[in-house]
């Protein structure tokens, strides 16, 4: 558990999902060219409720709007928040440029969380693609902290290229952890890369698991998740033991505005973490 020295405070947890609470950038880490991880601390005695792995917050860039961003670590004690942001749009680029001490609005936490309990006493496969590693990192942390509760833990991580790999320190630490089978692959590599090259599903051959007793957690681009789910099903894993984190255009984050409606589900409220059985049909409909 990381601890940040601050004055002792009794924080008031606000439960109104409409009102952003002001947070301040406490620390920032440049992950790679596109991604930055922020540690946010409440700017007052008000904070949002404690987050669970897989949940997200709406980050409010003043005057611009909000974006949904998953919690990317729970190793920072509540009420600190850890978010990893890829600067790709107007709001995320605003967030990307935030400096230490800058303020930002936060609403949350929203959505469902990774069902960690489901994996107790079972083998685990985590498949992460690109920035999809960020929402899965809290789950990996929990599995690592309570390692005795689970059997074999496999983490398969696919990235675009070596420069795009997130959380270098963690990745190195997971790779050297004898209790975690952590495998990385890249789609394209530069000179000097000594790791694996190929799609993330090809790493399944390196995972050790009993299909009848395995729970899988997936997060990444939708195409990657679909093919990963097929590969897991082909390996004999029950569809009810596969969980995916979906992404849609989330606005209100509480299932009121309908922007993220996906079939009969609202991704913000019924997800973002879904069981494969729950969304199997929607995944196959191209227009959704």
């Amino acid at each position: 558990m990381y601890t940040i020295e601050t004055k002792e405070k009794n924080f008031k947890t606000l439960k109104n999902p409409w009102i952003p609470i002001i947070y301040r950038v406490k620390e920032k880490f440049q992950e790679n060219e596109l991604n930055i991880t922020f540690i946010l601390e409440p700017d007052s005695d008000k904070c949002i409720p404690e987050m669970k792995p897989g949940q997200f917050n709406m980050l409010y860039a003043f005057g611009l709007g909000e974006i949904p961003i998953s919690v990317s670590s729970l190793e920072y004690e509540h009420p600190y928040l850890c978010h990893t942001i890829q600067g790709v749009g107007a709001i995320s680029n605003y967030c990307y440029k935030l400096k230490i001490g800058d303020r930002i609005g936060v609403r949350g936490p929203f959505g469902t969380s990774w069902p960690v309990d489901m994996a107790e006493g079972k083998d685990v496969i985590i498949i992460a693609g690109g920035v999809g590693l960020a929402p899965l990192r809290p789950l990996i942390e929990i599995l690592g902290n309570e390692r005795f509760k689970y059997k074999r833990v496999n983490v398969l991580y696919g990235s675009r290229d070596p420069h795009s790999i997130l959380f270098h320190t963690d990745v190195i630490s997971w790779q050297s952890d004898p209790l975690i089978n952590f495998q990385v692959t890249v789609d394209h590599c530069q000179k000097g890369w000594r790791g694996n090259v190929g799609v993330v599903t090809s790493l399944l051959n390196l995972a050790s698991f009993n299909p009848a007793e395995t729970v899988a957690y997936l997060c990444g681009p939708e195409v990657m998740m679909r093919f990963s789910a097929y590969a897991l099903l082909d390996a004999g894993i029950d569809p009810s033991n596969i969980y995916l984190s979906m992404e849609r255009n989330m606005k209100c984050a509480i299932g009121q505005c309908g922007h993220c409606q996906w079939g009969s589900n609202f991704v913000c409220k019924d997800g973002a973490v879904f069981n494969y059985r729950q969304i199997q049909k929607e995944l196959s409909i191209k227009e959704l």
């Binding site: 795009s164 190929g198 990657m224």
Partner: protein
Amino acid sequence: MDKLKTKSIKDNLSEMKFFEGIEDDMIEYISQCGINRHFNRGQYLGKEGDSADHFYIIRKGRIGLQLHHHDKGTIMLKTIHPGEIAGVSWIVPPYRYNFDLIALEETSVIEFDGKCIRDKCEKDHSLGYLLLRKFTGMLSERLKNTRIQLLDVYH
């Protein structure tokens, strides 16, 4: 004290996923075309343009599938892991390697003589059909993966 028993090539093949569903006597028959080999890191198992006389099933280690580009240097297209097959050009004419195969670490393989296997398949068409079905499945999987790789989904 019991003598250490070395596994035969047939024993090793029988444990591999690729040979699942192939009967023991057929595996025994195929294993006559295979030998155990070891490659040091950096050693080539095949080079682009060379005659594809062999294919390899990896027991330990890792093999890289590489291509040399005049501007970009050597590009790694894919890594091949234990239980997987390296070198598929032996199966169809003109039996020429399209890429370099390089051992990325200390690598143990079962090396198969492609011509020997082809001759056996000509003599026994049911073996030929089985092997072709296995290789087609693997090639189809690799084609699918390459297409996904080309999508650049993480960008």
